[in-house]
């Protein structure tokens, strides 16, 4: 069986039961009406069938009206055929009865907002106008006309029928409608005390009605001093005040029935006009009573709504206060408890908090269900958020989603009706422009305290804020945990310093770097001790470089410098244990820094190894360069030696003479001394170049160094027919470096320039050596030749090892020059000159200690 068939069957049963009730009610009402009748007048004193039809039409949809009216038809025939009326008359009366109910129902539907409700003054007013006045008023013309054919007076019939039906409509319809609407509730939830109150009130009303209308003749009743009647009024008011319009109409119905029964069956025959005046009397009491009850109900509801609204707002403010001071781990419990309070306060079945885990797979993290209510079917949790369809798209946007149980909603596979969550309100939880999840309120019939969706959006806003904070704190904790794990796993020792240089935190590796047995530290330094003091002690002990390190760390702590990096040797021999120290400031208002110690012994060893290799290679190339320079060096040495020999032999000849010119001999000796010094210098320069460098960096003037090298090569230049032009800066260009290595750079560049010019026979045979200071505290050296210049792309290769254009060259000269320059933190490059030839440039940092 399909679910649609189930739906149809359910609704069919309900219609059938209603039709049966209409049939029974009509039949019973008609018989009751016949019981209260004053023949020979046709209209009954009370005629409930019309009121029962009116109540039916007010409670049902217009499309069902023909069905229910048809259900009443057999009851009508059953009740009226066999009386003293002809069949056509009976049929005509059914028509007039139906017309009264239709006029009443149509006019109430047309004029009022909700048919079948008597809880506002307006609704009661519309009811009184439509059902109590207009229905009986108009239908009575028809009824009187039909009856007049029967032989009665038209206007008498009209009058009697109008007042009778007016009173019946006034007392029966609200009683029936309220009874149907509230009857189920009265069967179930109403407290015992209230039931007892209603029962007591009913007994009192019946007794007092019997007493008031049954103990004297009714004729003097409306104007007479009948004390029991006066006593009845407070209880009618009680019913109106305590039980609303339904209670009031029920009390009035009871009073009416008792009063008319008493008057008609226990006393001397009343006239029909006396009955009318009794009807008017009861009607005049009943109508304001109904209005009063409606007013009181209206006021009560307004107060309740206000109180509920206040409660809601109070809950809202408590809710927002509750989450402010909670830690994120306490929030889960708080979410649960607040979902419960929310559900209880708004009388919901389910409240669900869904977190947007991933766009397509959100997860229900917290939920609450009212006691006795089925828990949420798991299928709802798994299927959401309805990816692809309209609801899913709306859920992913910042919109509240109202899901209604509708015919559109397909039944579930097993034929059951869709679960309770098919009709609910889903509120997006939005924080910082991001949907963090949804709050689902089920069912959607919310109490009046919740005036609009915007109030619920506030609620959602509080949950969203709390959720956002929880997520942020969870993320922070995760990140903290990750950082802590990273710090622990590092082999680098890390310590956090405060502004004064005290250690506030260290990682596990830290202790390895500050062992008490190291040469640097007197004792182990850990959290609480002063890192700066430890360095100060080391500096006082005379540990090499300790004062440099101290100054660097202090400058970072004082924010006068961004970072500080330093490498030092710890241990008995400097090469044993190398540590790289790095200090970075902490970016926070209270200052401080992070210090890390990393062991770099291996790297340092490799670096020194590489440096040694480079130096050995440089030395080897120097030695081989000397081989190339032998001819020039021989000439350089032969000059002074030749001068010495010739001078000495000239002196011998002078002294062999009879009167030796001693002044001449003195001049000769002076020249010999000078020449000898000259030869010594040549040898010294040669020795310098052939010496192995000792890795020492000393401040030296690059201008002097360049002149020395140029002089060493001057004979070679003469041989090669090349002239050196020195355009050196007047100011000393002091750099920190290894003299031999820098000489080798200049030597290689000059040899390279001369060799380049050997290939050309141009008129310009000069090599210009230029020095100048740059604006970045560096000295710039340019060696400008007049050779053929560099080939295309040569600038990229000329400094590579084994790159050469010369048949006999090894291709190491420029490569060695570059490695030396780089080791001196300098730069080397080559450019082509505008006219001809190439220029080799090098830039070396000025030695700030001496320049400053």
């Amino acid at each position: 069986m399909t679910s649609a068939a189930t739906l149809t069957r359910t609704s069919g049963i309900r219609v059938a039961v209603t039709a049966l009730a209409v049939f029974l009610g009509y039949y019973a009402g008609a018989n009751f009406g016949f019981f209260l009748r004053l023949p020979p007048s046709t209209p009954s004193v009370i005629w409930p069938p019309n009121a029962i039809l009116t109540a039916t039409l007010l409670l049902t949809a217009p499309r069902r009206w023909p069905l229910y009216l048809a259900a009443a038809f057999p009851a009508h025939l059953l009740a009226e055929l066999g009386r003293d009326w002809s069949a056509p008359l009976v049929l005509a009366y059914f028509a007039t009865n139906c017309s009264e109910a239709l006029i009443a129902a149509v006019s109430i539907r047309w004029l009022g907002d909700v048919p079948g409700r008597f809880d506002t003054l307006r609704r009661v007013g519309v009811f009184i106008f439509g059902a109590v006045f207009l229905g009986p008023f108009l239908s009575s013309f028809l009824d009187a006309g039909v009856t007049a054919l029967h032989g009665e007076s038209y206007w008498t019939v009209w009058k009697y029928r109008f007042f009778s039906n007016m009173l019946t409509e006034l007392t029966v319809v609200p009683a029936v409608v309220t009874g149907v609407a509230a009857g189920r509730q009265w069967l179930g939830r109403v407290p015992v005390r209230r039931r007892l109150e209603a029962l007591g009130l009913a007994v009192v009303v019946v007794v007092l009605s019997v007493v008031a209308f049954g103990t004297s003749d009714y004729g003097a009743m409306p104007g007479g001093a009948r004390t029991p009647l006066a006593f009845l009024l407070p209880f009618l008011l009680w019913a109106a005040v305590r039980f609303g319009p339904g209670g009031a109409s029920l009390a009035m119905l009871t009073t009416t029935v008792v009063a008319i029964s008493m008057v008609m069956h226990h006393y001397a025959e009343p006239t029909r006009d006396e009955i009318v005046s009794l009807q008017v009397f009861i009607g005049v009491i009943a109508a304001p009573l109904m209005c009063l009850a409606a007013l009181i109900e209206e006021r009560r509801r307004a107060q309740e709504a206000l109180a509920e609204s206040l409660r809601f707002e109070e809950m809202l403010s408590r809710l927002s206060a509750a989450f402010v001071h909670l830690q994120s781990h306490e929030m889960d419990a708080a979410f649960d408890s607040w979902l419960q309070r929310l559900g209880e306060s708004l009388h919901l079945d389910h409240v669900i908090l869904r977190r947007a885990g991933s766009p397509h797979q959100p997860a229900i993290t917290h939920s609450w269900s009212a006691p006795g209510v089925r828990t949420v079917p798991p299928v709802c949790a798994a299927n959401w958020p309805l990816t692809g369809d309209t609801e899913g798209r709306r859920l992913r946007r910042d919109q509240a989603l109202l899901l209604l149980r509708s015919s559109r909603t397909p039944p579930m596979a097993d034929g059951r009706l869709p679960g309770p969550l098919e009709s609910n309100l889903t509120l997006p939880l939005v924080a910082r422009g991001q949907i963090l999840g949804h709050l689902v309120l089920d069912p959607i019939t919310l109490p009046r305290s919740v005036k609009s969706i915007s109030a619920l959006r506030l609620l959602a806003g509080v949950f969203a804020g709390a959720l956002a904070r929880k997520e942020a704190e969870d993320a922070l904790r995760t990140s903290e945990a990750m950082k802590s794990a990273i710090l622990t796993s590092l082999s680098t020792g890390v310590a956090v310093l405060d502004r004064e240089g005290h250690i506030v935190a260290v990682n596990e590796s830290w202790s390895r770097f500050v062992r008490a047995d190291s040469a640097l530290w007197d004792r182990a330094i850990g959290i609480g001790s002063s890192y700066l003091d430890a360095w100060r002690t080391a500096a006082r002990k005379g540990v090499p470089h300790a004062s440099d390190a101290l100054a660097g760390i202090e400058s970072v702590l004082a924010r006068s410098r961004r970072t500080f990096a330093f490498e030092y040797a710890d241990g008995l021999s400097p090469a044993d244990y190398w540590i790289a120290l790095s200090v970075v400031p902490l970016d926070r208002p209270e200052g401080g820094a992070v210090v890390s110690h990393t062991e770099v012994t291996e790297r340092k060893r490799a670096e020194m190894e590489a440096q040694r290799s480079r130096q050995e290679l440089a030395h080897f190339t120097r030695v081989s360069t000397m081989g190339e320079l032998t001819a020039s060096l021989a000439h350089e040495l032969s000059q002074p030696l030749s001068g010495i020999l010739t001078n000495a032999q000239a002196a011998q000849r002078f002294l062999a003479g009879t009167a030796p010119d001693l002044a001449e001999v003195r001049a000769i000796l002076s020249d010999i001394v000078d020449d000898d010094k000259r030869a010594g210098e040549v040898i010294q320069r040669l020795r310098d170049l052939l010496r192995k460098s000792d890795l020492s960096r000393v401040p030296l003037d690059l201008n002097t160094l360049i002149s020395d090298v140029a002089r060493l090569l001057s004979s070679d230049a003469v041989i090669r027919n090349v002239a050196f032009v020195l355009e050196l800066n007047a100011k000393p260009a002091t750099v920190s470096g290894d003299r031999v290595e820098l000489q080798q750079v200049i030597l290689n560049l000059l040899l390279n320039a001369m060799e380049a010019m050997a290939e050309t026979n141009g008129a310009d045979r000069t090599i210009v050596l230029r020095t100048g200071n740059t604006d970045v505290d560096a000295v710039h050296v340019a060696i400008e030749d007049a050779g053929p210049g560099l080939g295309p792309d040569a600038e990229r290769y000329i400094f590579e090892p084994f790159y050469t254009t010369k048949p006999a060259g090894m291709g190491m000269g420029l490569s060695i020059a570059r490695s030396i320059v780089l080791a001196h933190d300098g730069l080397i490059w080559a450019t082509n000159n505008p006219a001809h030839g190439a220029t080799f440039h090098l830039a070396l940092p000025l030695c700030s200690v001496l320049v400053g």
């Binding site: 032969s638 000059q639 002074p640 030749s642 010495i644 020999l645 010739t646 032999q649 000239a650 002078f654």
Partner: protein
């Protein structure tokens, strides 16, 4: 010997002075010049004598001066002195008419012998 003059052209002042002293001590009249250019400007080439010439000098070299003198028709005897005796250059100089070639440092007797031979050559009629 008397009026014969020994001209010395060498850019090295120490060499110039020592040669001048040695030649004076041996009784020669000496005139020294810093460069080939100065010699061409100042020297009296009409006088009998010989020329002591450094092979390699900045500017005009000794070989170039030899060529210029040859071209101008001055047949003054030449003695080359050089810091490094490379064979091709010595051959070139001797073929061009040089009397002798001395490698620095040279012995006084060798020099004076060469000068004596040169002056003797200069007395022979051209």
């Amino acid at each position: 010997m008397g009026d014969a003059i020994v001209y010395v052209v060498d850019d090295d002042p120490s060499i110039r002075r020592s040669l001048e002293r040695l030649l004076r001590a041996a009784g020669h009249t000496v005139e020294t010049f810093v460069s080939a250019r100065e010699f061409l400007e100042r020297a009296d080439l009409g006088v009998r004598g010989c020329l002591l010439l450094d092979v390699r000098m900045p500017g005009q070299s000794g070989l170039e001066l030899q060529f210029v003198l040859e071209a101008a028709g001055h047949r003054i005897p030449l003695i080359f002195i050089t810091g490094h005796a490379d064979v091709p250059m010595a051959q070139q100089a001797l073929q061009a008419g040089a009397v002798d070639l001395l490698a620095k440092p040279f012995d006084a007797d060798a020099l004076l012998g060469a000068v004596a031979r040169a002056l003797a050559a200069s007395q022979q009629p051209a």
